[in-house]
C-alpha cells in the first residue's frame, strides 16, 4: 500500500514537472526561472551539488567491500552502488534541465579546456557514470544469464570488477573534489566564511560523510517502504564512522578559516554567520555527538534522524556555497521560481526514486536473506509475499493505469497553474508613464523617479509661432480632441505600446448606436474569432484609419509605416521629437550646444572638466 501511494505521488510529480520541462524548453530559462545575469546559477546547481554527494556512498562502500575486503559490509555493496548510480542520474537529468543548450552536452568530449574544473567534472561524470553502470550491470544481467551473450558479459564484468571499482574510486575522488574546485575561482561571490581556496578538500570530505549518511537513510526508507529489515550491526558502525568524518570536516574548515586570517568572521553577527553556525552546530556537530551515544545509535529511528540531519547539514552547506552565501557579496536577491522548485523536487528526485523502486523490486539489489532463494526469473513477482506479509505489487496493467492517471492529472493541473510568464514567454516589465505636470512650464517625469526635465511649454509656443506650431510636436490627435498630450499614446516609459484601445472602440461604437459594434471593424463576425483571422481582415482598415488621423503638416516622421499602431516608448518619443528639432535649430541659430543633453537635463549630465 505504501509502495503504491508513493508511486502514485512520484508519477504525479513527474507528470507535473514534465509540463514545467516543456515550458522551460519552449520559452527559455528567463521565462521559467528566476535566474539572472548576476545569479546565473541557482537552486538547480545547488541541489545538483548536494544530490550528487548521495552517490558518494557508492564508492565509499565499494572501497570498503572490494579493496579493504571487510566481509560484513558486502551486503551493502549493491545498494550503495545503486545509490551512486541514482545520484549521478539525478546529476545528469538536472544538468540537462539547467544547461542553456543541453544538446551541446557532448562538446567537452571533443573541445578540451583542461584548465576548467567544469571540464574535469564533465569528464568524471561521463566516465564514472559508465563505471557505475558497469559496476551495477551484473545485478541486472544475472537475471538473464540463460541467454548466452548476457552470460558472457556477466562473467566478464564480474572478472573485471576490481579494476572497475578502483577506477570508480579514483574518478569519484576527483569528481567530488572538483565540484568544490568550481568555487575556488569565485572569491568575489562568496562570503569569506564559505569561500575557501581548498574548497575541493572540503567537498571531498563532506561527500564521504554524506555518502555514509545516505546509506543509513536509504536503509531506513527501504524499511519504511518495503519493510526490509534494518541491519543492527552495520548501520550504527557506519553512523559512528560518519560522525568522525563530520568532525574532520569541521576541523579542516575552521583551521582553514583561521590560517587564512578570516577567523574573525566566525564571531561577527549576520546572516552568513547564522547560516554557518546553524549548519555547523545544529546540523553537523550535535547529531555527530549524539550518534556516539549507544542508546541513540542503536535506536533505528534516532539513527536515521541523525543521518538525515548530517545529510541535510551538508546539503545546506552546498546550497550555501552555491547560492546563499553569494547574496551579501553580489547584492542580488534570488529566490527560485515555482517551476524551478517543481523541477528540483519533482522531476529529478521523482525519476531517481522511481528507477530505484523499479530496480529493487525486479532485481536483487538487496543481498538475499539466507533463507530466501534466488527468485526464478520465469515467474512473475508475487503480489503478496507470504514470508514477510507485505504487498510487493499488483498486476502490471492496474499499476500502469493508476500511475498514468496520476501522471496525466498532475500534468493537467500543472498546465492550468503555469504562470503566464512560463506559458507565453517573458515580456518587458511595464513602466507606465504618468502625465507631465504644469502648463506654462511642464515638469516631465514619466516614471516619477525624480529625475525630470523642466519643459518651458509656453516659451516653445511663443518662439515657434503660436498656435500653428502645435502640430510640430502634437502629431496625432485622439478623436474629438486637439493637441493630445504625449503620454496618452506613449504609455510606457521604455517599451513600445499599442495605441489601439479595443474596449474604447466598442464603447464608442455602441454609444453611436450604428448596429452591431463588432461589424464596424470585423468584416466577418460570423467567422472564427482567432487572432490570425482578426488580424488578416481588419489590419488594413485600422492602419488607414490611424494614418488618416495624423494631422496635416506634422514634422514627426513615422519611421515604420507597418508599425503605425505602435507608439515607441516615452523616453524615445520625447528624445526623438526634441533632439531632432534642436539639431535643426542648432544650425539655424548657430548654437552648437543646442542639441546637448544639458540644454534640457539641467540637473543631469554636465561635463566635469573639458577635454584637454
Amino acid at each position: 500500500m505504501r509502495v503504491r501511494v508513493t508511486k502514485i505521488v512520484l508519477w504525479g510529480l513527474v507528470g507535473a514537472s514534465a509540463v514545467a520541462l516543456a515550458a522551460r524548453f519552449g520559452n527559455g530559462l528567463g521565462a521559467t526561472t528566476n535566474l539572472s545575469d548576476l545569479t546565473p546559477w541557482g537552486l538547480w546547481i545547488g541541489l545538483k551539488l548536494a544530490g550528487v554527494a548521495f552517490a558518494a556512498g557508492g564508492f565509499t562502500i565499494a572501497g570498503v567491500v572490494y579493496i579493504f575486503q571487510l566481509g560484513p559490509y558486502h551486503k551493502l555493496a549493491r545498494r550503495s552502488v545503486l545509490l551512486g548510480l541514482l545520484g549521478y542520474t539525478f546529476f545528469v537529468v538536472s544538468l540537462i534541465v539547467d544547461l542553456g543548450i543541453p544538446w551541446n552536452i557532448w562538446r567537452p568530449v571533443f573541445y578540451w579546456n583542461p584548465h576548467s574544473p567544469l571540464f574535469e567534472v564533465a569528464w568524471c561524470v561521463m566516465l564514472y557514470l559508465t563505471v557505475l553502470l558497469l559496476e551495477f550491470a551484473p545485478v541486472v544481467l544475472e537475471k538473464y544469464r540463460r541467454i548466452h551473450v548476457i552470460d558472457v558479459a556477466y562473467r566478464f564484468l564480474v572478472a573485471a570488477s576490481i579494476p572497475i571499482v578502483i577506477l570508480g574510486i579514483a574518478l569519484s575522488v576527483l569528481h567530488q573534489s572538483s565540484l568544490g574546485t568550481l568555487f575556488a575561482i569565485t572569491p568575489h561571490r562568496q562570503h569569506p566564511l564559505f569561500y575557501s581556496p581548498i574548497v575541493n578538500v572540503l567537498f571531498f570530505v563532506s561527500c564521504v560523510a554524506m555518502g555514509l549518511g545516505a546509506v543509513i537513510v536509504e536503509s531506513y526508507v527501504a524499511n519504511l517502504l518495503y519493510r526490509r529489515k534494518l541491519d543492527h550491526e552495520l548501520l550504527p558502525t557506519i553512523g559512528r564512522f560518519m560522525a568522525w568524518v563530520v568532525w574532520l570536516f569541521i576541523t579542516i574548515r575552521i583551521a582553514d578559516l583561521v590560517i587564512r586570517g578570516d577567523g574573525h568572521h566566525l564571531i561577527e553577527s549576520g546572516w552568513n554567520n547564522a547560516l554557518f553556525w546553524f549548519e555547523t552546530l545544529a546540523l553537523l556537530l550535535l547529531p555527530s555527538l549524539l550518534i556516539q551515544l549507544r542508546r541513540v545509535r542503536n535506536n533505528r529511528t534516532l539513527l536515521a534522524v541523525m543521518a538525515f540531519a548530517v545529510v541535510g547539514g551538508f546539503m545546506l552547506n552546498r546550497l550555501t556555497v552555491a547560492g546563499l552565501a553569494t547574496i551579501t557579496p553580489t547584492g542580488t536577491h534570488y529566490f527560485p521560481s515555482a517551476l524551478e522548485l517543481l523541477m528540483s523536487f519533482g522531476l529529478v528526485p521523482g525519476i531517481a526514486v522511481l528507477i530505484w523502486m523499479f530496480l529493487v523490486e525486479h532485481y536483487q539489489v538487496w543481498q538475499p536473506e539466507p533463507e530466501v532463494d534466488q527468485p526464478d526469473p520465469s515467474f512473475a513477482p508475487p503480489q503478496f509475499d507470504p514470508v514477510s506479509g507485505v504487498w510487493l505489487g499488483d498486476s502490471m496493467l492496474a499499476a500502469f493505469r493508476r500511475n498514468s492517471l496520476a501522471f496525466i492529472v498532475a500534468a493537467a493541473l500543472a498546465f492550468a497553474l503555469l504562470p503566464h510568464r512560463a506559458l507565453y514567454g517573458a515580456g518587458a516589465v511595464p513602466t507606465p508613464v504618468q502625465r507631465a505636470r504644469g502648463s506654462t512650464v511642464m515638469r516631465i517625469d514619466g516614471d516619477r523617479n525624480g529625475i525630470a526635465v523642466e519643459f518651458k511649454h509656453q516659451m516653445h509656443i511663443d518662439k515657434l509661432g503660436d498656435k500653428d506650431s502645435c502640430v510640430q510636436c502634437h502629431h496625432l490627435d485622439e478623436p474629438l480632441d486637439k493637441d493630445t498630450p504625449c503620454w496618452v499614446c506613449h504609455r510606457d516609459q521604455w517599451s513600445a505600446t499599442d495605441i489601439f484601445d479595443h474596449d474604447r472602440h466598442v464603447a464608442d461604437l455602441q454609444r453611436m448606436g450604428t448596429g452591431d459594434p463588432c461589424a464596424a471593424c470585423h468584416l466577418n463576425t460570423g467567422g472564427p474569432h482567432t487572432a490570425e483571422h482578426t488580424a488578416s481582415c481588419t489590419a488594413e482598415g485600422c492602419h488607414h484609419g490611424h494614418l488618416e488621423m495624423r494631422r496635416e503638416g506634422v514634422t514627426v516622421e513615422l519611421k515604420d509605416k507597418d508599425r503605425a499602431r505602435l507608439a515607441v516608448g516615452y523616453v524615445d518619443a520625447l528624445h526623438g521629437v526634441c533632439i531632432s528639432c534642436h539639431k535643426k535649430k542648432a544650425a539655424e541659430l548657430n548654437r552648437p550646444h543646442h542639441p546637448d543633453c544639458a540644454t534640457c537635463h539641467l540637473d543631469g549630465p554636465v561635463p566635469v572638466r573639458s577635454a584637454g
Partner: protein, 267 residues
C-alpha cells in the same frame, strides 16, 4: 602588443553615444526591460552601458578584457579565447550554456539571452570581428565618444603612459592617483581613471579582488588532478593486493573480494 581602452570618467558626460555606436555595430536592437534586467544596464543585447554612481560621475561599463581572464580559464569547452590583440572573444557555436563564465567573471560581464529558448552568452569583444575584417580602425565606442573620455590604444603600455601623464598633469584630480585595472586580477585591458572610488562600481565584490589572476586559484588545484588520479589508483590497487594476499595466506582459500560471493547459490 595588446589593445587597450582608457576611460577617464572625469571627462565623460554620460551622453550614451558609445552605447548607441555599440548597438549599431553589433546589431543589438531594442533594449527590452525584461524582469531580469540588471540595474547596471548590461544585458544580452547591451554590451556597454553608462552608469552614474554619483551625480557628477559617469562610468562606462564594458568587458575589461582581462590579461588573464577567468572566463577563458573556466569554460569547459574552450569557447572563449583571449586573442593576441587582447580581445576576449567567444564562439557561440560550441557553447553549451553552463554559465560558468558568468559565475567566474569578477566583473559580472558575460550576459545571457534569458529570453531565448536557445540562449547564448553575449559580451563586448572590443569589436574584434569588425576590426579583424579591417572595417574599422578602433572599437565603435571609442570612435563615437565626442569628449574623448574613452580612448583606444594599440598598446596597453601606451595607455598606461597616457594615464600616468594625465595623473601627473592634474594633481589631486584622480582618486588616490590610481589607474583602475592596472593590477586588479592580474591587470585588465580596459583601464579607468576616476575622481571617485570605483571599487563598488567596477566589481561586485565583498573584498578587494587583489592582484592575483583568478585563474591561478583553480589552475593550482587542477594541476593536482592527474597525480591524484594515478595516486588513488595506485594506493587502492596496492591496498587490494596487500589485503588480498594476506587473506589468501591466512585462509588458504580464494579471496572473498572477487565478487564470487555475489553469485549466491549458483553452483
Amino acid at each position: 602588443m595588446s589593445y587597450a581602452i582608457l576611460t577617464d570618467t572625469t571627462l565623460c558626460t554620460g551622453c550614451d553615444k558609445c552605447v548607441d555606436a555599440c548597438v549599431e555595430i553589433n546589431h543589438l536592437g531594442d533594449d527590452i526591460y525584461y524582469p531580469w534586467r540588471e540595474k547596471d544596464g548590461l544585458n544580452g543585447n547591451r554590451f556597454c552601458s553608462v552608469v552614474r554612481p554619483a551625480p557628477d560621475c559617469f562610468v562606462r561599463l564594458q568587458c575589461r578584457q582581462c590579461l588573464d581572464p577567468a572566463c577563458v580559464s573556466v569554460c569547459p569547452v574552450g569557447a572563449l579565447h583571449k586573442t593576441d590583440e587582447g580581445s576576449v572573444i567567444y564562439d557561440t557555436e560550441i557553447c553549451m550554456g553552463c554559465r560558468y563564465c558568468m559565475m567566474a567573471c569578477p566583473f559580472g560581464i558575460p550576459r545571457y539571452e534569458w529570453n531565448r529558448a536557445v540562449p547564448h552568452i553575449r559580451k563586448c569583444t572590443l569589436c574584434f570581428e569588425a576590426m579583424a575584417r579591417g572595417e574599422i580602425e578602433q572599437p565603435a565606442c571609442t570612435a563615437a565618444c565626442p569628449e574623448h573620455a574613452t580612448v583606444f590604444f594599440e598598446d596597453r603600455d601606451e595607455a598606461l603612459r597616457e594615464a600616468r601623464r594625465r595623473i601627473a598633469e592634474n594633481p589631486g584630480t584622480y582618486f588616490e592617483d590610481r589607474i583602475w585595472g592596472e593590477h586588479e586580477v592580474g591587470g585588465t585591458s580596459v583601464l579607468y581613471l576616476s575622481s571617485m572610488d570605483l571599487s563598488a562600481v567596477l566589481w561586485h565584490s565583498f573584498k578587494p579582488l587583489g592582484t592575483e589572476p583568478l585563474p591561478e586559484r583553480t589552475e593550482r588545484i587542477m594541476v593536482t588532478v592527474p597525480p591524484t588520479f594515478f595516486g588513488v589508483c595506485a594506493v587502492m590497487a596496492g591496498t587490494y593486493w596487500v589485503i588480498n594476499r594476506r587473506r589468501r595466506l591466512m585462509d588458504g582459500e580464494p579471496p572473498a573480494g572477487s565478487l564470487k560471493s555475489d553469485e549466491g547459490g549458483e553452483p
